[in-house]
Amino acid sequence: MSTPHPIPRLSRRSLLAATGGLASAGILSACSGAKTSGGGGATSSSSTVLLSTQFSPVEEKQRFEKILSTFVTDPKTSFNSMAMADFTTQVKSQVDAKKVQFGIAAALHGELTPLADYLEDVDSLVPDAAAAGIGKDLLALGKLGGSTQKYIPWMQASFVVAVNKKALQWLPSGADVTALTYDQYLSWAQAAAKANGKPVFGFPAGPKGLYHRWFQGYLLPSFTGGVITTFTSSEAATAWSWMKDFWAVCNPASTNYDNLQEPMARGEVLVGWDHVARLVQAPKDKPDDWLMVPAPIGPKGLGYMLVVAGMGIPKGGDVATAAKAIRALLQPKVQIEVLRQNAFFPVVKADLPSDLSAPVKMEAEAVAKQTASPKAIVALPPVGLGAKDGELAQVFKDCFREICLQNGDPKTVLGKYTATVTSILDATKVPCWAPDPAMSQCRVG
């Protein structure tokens, strides 16, 4: 049992020799590695790199690389996708060191805001963007609260509700699934949970879920007409009580859901609200089983949030080449292709083609209905908060945890977090953003 393994002398010698061989090979080859960015060309003068936080999932990335190599050929553009924290570090350190290795920084509005000082002014591109049909409001977001244009809008998205037709049997009588009220949405969830024996509604409240956007763009605007100014209002307390009741009939595994398309594909969740680019994966295999509908309507209207991604040029980068690539990405055919493949909507004026795949078509219709609703209240992600954006999002997540998971009293919890919101606003001194009424400095109450 305990005989030690005899290690032959020869093998030591050969191991030593092999190590020596590897040493020279390794040290020689360490000078140059293999290139891992995909899409277009390398870093020569007629090419550029698009660094982004979007399209990181394996398949989305492959599809976007294909779009780049097909449509954006002058300059050749390669794609590099990173998590948000790495993205921020890379942009900052490369700009600071004055050795910028990428042409375009493309990310969500909220991810670009803290980087405003690291981005070149792109006012020269504004006429092109306006000519392509990008709306004034959308373009204005790209100023990041300053006076010059910091990014050009790239693509947009929103959040809608996906419904598996199986759940329609529990829909309250008289309710129109494409124009639900919050009360109907809640009683539907309650009836479904009761009839089915376990909840069928889901909520993306996982560690990486986007549920703070539900409070910022949907629940609170619909109930209160605002987010920040009405933070402690009695309507806000009603909204949070609604949330508490709704949470009681949500799938309790929701705190693990970073997104809903997978639990939906597994059949664990039949109805749920999430980002369109995520939900679009749910009906992929069986589009006939699914519906996509606008978010519910509250006492004040149909609050919905606009998600905008923009393209900026890092300070010290090759502006001319990057600008060329940005113009190429604003072409309607490229924007439509992004919608077709990755479910983000065009920001430019583009006619939606009729041959979209079923899930994308469903999604496009739901978003159009949501935007066109006479009761629509558009909400933007926080404007001008910079790095504090995440802190504000955390406030809503904390409120959710204390009210819904720990059964706190909405009024008390909201009161407790008012100080946090106030300190964030005091530190940034920004004007209010939609849906709160514009005022010189945003304040609670």
Binding site: T19, G26, G33, S37, Q101, Q261
Partner: protein
Amino acid sequence: MSATITVDTGPLARFKRRRALLQLAAVSISLFMAVPIYLIAVAAFSTRDGLNQFPQPLWPKNFGTQTMETFLSSTGIVAGTINSLIVGVSTLIVSFLVGAPAGYALARFTFRGKDAYQLALLFTRALPIVVLSVPLARAFLATGLYDTPLAVTLLHTALSLPTTILITSSVFLGVSADVEEAARIFGCTPAGAFLRVVLPLALPGIAASSIFTFVTSWNEVLGATILTFSQRTLPAQVLTSLADSPLAYRFAGGLVLVIPSLIFIALMRKYLLNMWGTTIR
């Protein structure tokens, strides 16, 4: 007349029982290690539909290679693997070239501040990379090493040197000073004695310590992500992407990430015993 000879079978039974229990323990420990890897492998080679079934079959019932193929054909997997191997092997070599002499000095000589030196070695691991990330990236950008495997190699070498030095020093302690003296008496130079006698004897232990170095380097994500841009190592290339990807790809990626270090450990396995054998007495 027949005499019954009673044989005391007690010791034999005890021996057998002990062996059986030992086997049982060995088997269950192996299963503890192998079952998760097996399950990941099964999931990685299942169809996407198959993964949504409940309960999951424990054998590859819904066999399909599509997920794996898509994953392997995605940009940067091959390049990332090459980079990871370059970085892993270079780290191993550089940290050996720098760390082994330090370990030898710790083992053979007493000098003022030796204990403090040993303790101070560990301080490099006390500072989290997150804190260092931006300064590190800037330093490498300024020297032009940024975005090369060499940059990652240097960082990984710095990270693995403390363990390399401490392990090699205990390995050299295990090689008797007498044999080295004998070599000197028979005409070896100090360097010759080290290369011809001490090194071959210490090699198994050193090889074992290389497992740590290689696996540390293979698994390190944060530093590699900060110091590279378009020449990333495999974990830096795929890890963030996998976290956002559907479940199927996470299994495929998990399997691809775990296999190379398993192969490396398998190759170095027989030397591992030797390292513990000389250090723990």
